[in-house]
């Protein structure tokens, strides 16, 4: 039995402890904002926050999450839109949108650890998140906009 908090809600998991968090979120909790893109920590579509760090839900087994605090895209704006979400909308980042939950969660984690990231910081932090629509320049602009906003 694994106990964790997802978006502030206490949850108890009794299934197969090897199941990755991604499928627990999507299939069991219906939190489908977190996406599947590769299942192998190669694309970042499944990025969520574990405590304050970005993790790939597709390779994070439930067994590793006893006591964890998970935040997904649905939980990010619980108290109004997060500054990163606002910046994303202002810069109009998304195209198809599929990767963007992962991008946003990754950016949130980056700004938590580095409130004023340089170009290199951004490039480094975002290099694991694929956007096939190639919205990368706008992602950079939105991260900078969000960093400016949170001064």
């Amino acid at each position: 039995m694994i106990q964790l908090r997802v978006n502030g809600v206490k949850r108890t998991f009794r299934g197969d402890p090897k199941m990755p968090l991604l499928w627990y979120l999507r299939d069991a909790l219906d939190l489908t904002g977190t996406k599947y893109g590769c299942g192998a920590a190669l694309c970042g579509a499944c990025t969520v926050l574990q405590n304050d760090e970005a993790v790939r839900a597709c390779v994070t087994p439930m067994s590793a999450l006893n006591g964890a605090r998970i935040t997904t895209i649905e939980g990010l704006g619980r108290h109004g839109l997060h500054p990163v979400q606002r910046a994303w909308m202002r810069i109009n980042v998304p195209q198809c949108g599929y990767c963007q939950a992962g991008q946003i969660m990754q950016a949130v984690a980056l700004l938590k650890s580095k409130p004023k990231p340089s170009d290199e910081d951004i490039e480094h932090a975002m290099s694991g998140n694929i956007c096939r629509c190639a919205t990368y320049p706008r992602i950079r602009a939105a991260i900078k906009a969000a960093a400016g906003e949170s001064v």
């Binding site: 999507r26 489908t32 599929y98 694929i130 629509c133 919205t135």
Partner: protein, 757 residues
């Protein structure tokens, strides 16, 4: 506002309650039904003219003033589900904040729904204007009747009709029921706004779904959940056309959550959009189905395509490209010029298979019930789903209801609904709703691949370096083999993509195509044959310019020649599905974007070499004219950074400038990925790549640091914009590498080459 209702669907009723009583729905009887159209109208003939206006199918107004507009095209990131409704709203004079968008199911009465080929605005701009103008005229007629004045004395302001003389005003909601009783005006009586009156067309706006995307709303195919649904993952034959010899599922069934396995029969040629066949694992979660599959043991009978090996096939293509082929366009006499000797320049180019690798792998939910199928899927063409599912299950096309979710990218992959057919077959076998989810490995190993291609070009150049004769030959397995197994030459569709329509003013010209057999499913991928054709042609032009010691921009302007409309003299020239009279090839527009692009990029201001270089290319595709200049830096280790890309596009009238800019920014990054690392190969018929570790796509630092897009102001008919950004980028990028390093690369992708100093 978002589309949550797509997910919380009672199986067929997600449009129920869209309209209250008294709504103006153009053809009110059509509407408040389960599927917008399907249940309400007797189906007319099997097909409907592609752009005919069907009143009632696109627009309705509720008495509370809410305007509901149907998006009948699929949203995969181009913004089409916003931009076409914006056109309706503009002509209707509707307040956008009171518009709701309703995604259409597949139904021929909407006209053409295949969101592919960069044609949504080209095909439907006029139709959407007609829909809006019809509604506006009916609202005016209703108000005029109430005020007992003539409609000519009335006009509209935002979401209201006004009587100019008295200033009386009635909101659209107040008029909805009365307007619903007005006769539908004839098409030729419609009055349109002038372009200066447009509120939305040509102005900046963002996607209807922007907030939903940024907050993680369930919008996509995989987000659909239906009561009683089970999950399936399918082990496909590793070689196209292979069959299951035997399979052992004992260990798979031991995996917690796995219910059973189901055999899917192999397809019958042509494979078209049929399921590939194989063994499906059925489970109570996606993950359990994936895990169960790992424990399956299947022995395959591979069949003849097991002979497919990329290195040998490449050799064949390249040899074919050096031999005379089928002539598809000929002017003057190239051989006569070549035989005279003089300066001859020739080059061969090669581009491998590519996979689409849409961010969202194929996924679909289907429910077979009482001889009917309801499906939910991220598809580009829901009518193809109807046809393919009906064909496979032996039911009527109109008994297949296909709900279209949003698409996590598509690039052409999702116009091929084999994965929806799988879901429907399994649902029929299991008697309950099934979600089929492909893994990334499935996606990459079982794609409809972009064709591998070899091109050969030869020119005889005069004293001034300009060609007196030009010969080009391309060889690639045709995507038409998908539908016709005997297709062994390029189709007119592929040859019309940047090959038989080159615009050069050369007196002796011959264009050929060689024979090639497909051994994997060939499909169309964002800009299709333009990818390899533009790569070869625009690289060769750069080579000729350098051989002549001339500036590549000046050279290309001279090669394109004076401003004129090309008379290709090709009977089956495809012209991207648009009439040539409306969308001819205009070299003046081509040269203008080239000059503007050179200007914007600062062409010639900085000297290329020593690891910095700028390259340029220009190409017409999907009727749009696009020039791109790329600036690269190559360090001593051979690492290539794209500092900046400049793109100038003449796409005629542009409905959504912001979204067009986004499409060209995205195309630059997408093309950078193709050029850098895009390569699919086969060994013994099996695809060698599997996931983003060995099929790499553009990541953050691989795309241009910056892409500057300029749209040429124009009121020419609207052109395609989703694809045309890709073709010129790749040769511009390679030309930039030549400028920076002096190394001429003639093979994609870049990862095959070592640029270390």
């Amino acid at each position: 506002m978002t589309n949550v209702d797509i997910v919380n669907l009672s199986r067929r009723g997600f449009l129920k309650g869209v309209f209250s009583t008294g709504a103006l729905v153009l053809g009110v009887r059509l509407l408040p039904g389960s599927a917008w159209a399907a249940d309400q109208l007797p189906l007319a003939g099997a097909t409907v003219d592609s752009t005919v206006f069907h009143p009632g199918l696109f627009l309705g107004i509720n008495p509370d003033g809410t305007v509901i507009i149907v998006a009948h095209r699929s949203e995969m990131g181009t913004g089409i589900r916003t931009s076409l409704p914006r056109v309706v709203a503009d002509e209707l004079d509707a307040d956008w904040s009171r518009v709701r968008i309703q995604q259409a199911i597949g139904d021929p009465r909407y006209g053409e729904q295949n969101t592919d080929g960069s044609r949504s605005v080209r095909y439907f701009f006029d139709t959407m204007r007609e829909a809006g103008a019809t509604g506006r005229m009916m609202l005016i007629a209703a108000a005029a009747k109430r005020w007992k004045v003539s409609p000519e004395q009335c006009t509209t302001t935002l979401h209201a009709v006004v009587h100019s003389a008295t200033g009386r005003k009635l909101g659209y909601g107040q008029l909805a029921s009365a307007a619903a009783k007005m006769p539908v005006p004839n098409k030729d009586a419609l009055k349109f706004k002038s372009s200066s009156q447009w509120r939305y067309i040509g102005k900046k706006f963002v996607s209807y779904d922007l907030a939903g995307i940024c907050t993680g709303k369930p919008l996509y195919g995989g987000d659909v959940k239906v009561d009683g649904m089970v999950y399936a993952s399918v082990e496909h034959p590793p070689v196209l056309g292979g069959k299951v010899k035997s399979h052992e599922d004992r260990d798979a069934l031991k995996v917690r959550g796995v219910h059973k396995t189901v055999l899917i029969p192999p397809f019958k040629p042509p494979y078209a959009f049929q399921a590939l066949g194989g063994v499906a694992v059925i489970a109570n979660s996606t993950w359990a189905a994936f895990e169960g599959r790992k424990k399956l043991k299947v022995a395959w009978d591979d069949g003849p395509n097991a002979s497919y090996n990329s290195p040998a096939y490449r050799k064949e293509l390249e040899e074919t490209a050096r031999r005379p082929g089928r002539v598809v366009r000929s002017e003057g006499d190239v051989e006569a010029v070549f035989s005279k000797g003089g300066r001859i320049i020739e080059a061969g180019y090669y581009a491998p298979h590519l996979a689409h690798a849409a961010t969202e792998p194929p996924v679909a939910v289907a429910h077979y019930h009482n001889g009917k199928v309801t499906a939910w899927a991220p598809v580009q063409n829901p009518q193809a789903v109807q046809e393919a599912v009906a064909g496979e299950l032996g039911i009527k096309k109109e008994d297949v209801i296909c709900h279209v979710t949003m698409l996590g990218c598509a690039f052409g992959r999702k116009s091929k609904p084999d994965f929806v057919v799988e879901a429907a077959l399994l649902s029929k076998a299991l008697g309950r709703p099934v979600k089929v989810a492909w893994t990334r490995e499935d996606d990459i190993k079982f794609d409809y691949y972009h064709a591998v291609a070899a091109m050969y070009l030869k020119a005889a150049v005069g004293q001034d370096g300009m060609p007196a004769a030009w010969l080009q030959r391309s060889v690639f397995p045709s995507l038409m083999a998908t539908f016709n197994p005997n297709q062994d030459y390029g189709s007119s569709l592929e040859l019309s993509m940047g090959w038989n329509d080159i615009p050069f003013a050369v007196p002796n010209l011959q264009i050929e195509n060689g024979r090639a057999i497909a051994h994997v499913r060939i499909g169309w991928l964002r800009s299709v044959a333009n990818v390899y054709h533009a790569f070869a042609v625009q690289s060769f032009v750069d080579e000729l310019a350098h051989a002549a010691g001339r500036d590549p921009v000046d050279y290309q302007l001279a090669l394109n020649g004076p401003a004129r409309i090309l008379n290709l003299g090709i009977k089956d020239y495809w012209n991207y599905g648009s009439p040539y009279s409306k969308y001819p090839i205009e070299t003046g527009r081509l040269n203008r974007v080239l000059e503007m692009c050179a200007n914007q990029a600062g062409w010639g201001k900085r000297k290329s070499g020593n690891g910095w270089g700028m390259g340029i290319a220009v190409h017409r595709s999907f009727t749009a004219y696009v020039a791109t200049a790329v600036q690269v830096e190559v360090d001593h280790k051979g690492k290539v950074t794209i500092a900046r890309a400049d793109t100038v596009v003449d796409a005629g009238l542009v409905v959504s400038p912001e979204m067009v800019v986004q499409q060209f920014e995205g195309a630059a990054g997408f093309a950078a990925g193709i050029a850098r690392t895009g390569e699919i190969t086969a060994t013994n018929g099996r695809i060698d790549q599997s996931n983003f570790n060995d099929y790499e796509v553009a990541r953050f630092a691989d795309a241009p640091y910056e892409t500057r897009v300029t749209i040429v102001p124009s009121d020419a008919p609207p052109c395609g914009v989703g694809e045309p950004g890709v073709p010129p980028f790749i040769p511009a990028f390679y030309n930039a590498i030549f400028a920076a390093t002096g190394k001429r690369l003639r093979e994609l992708p870049l990862s095959k080459h070592n640029l270390a100093a």
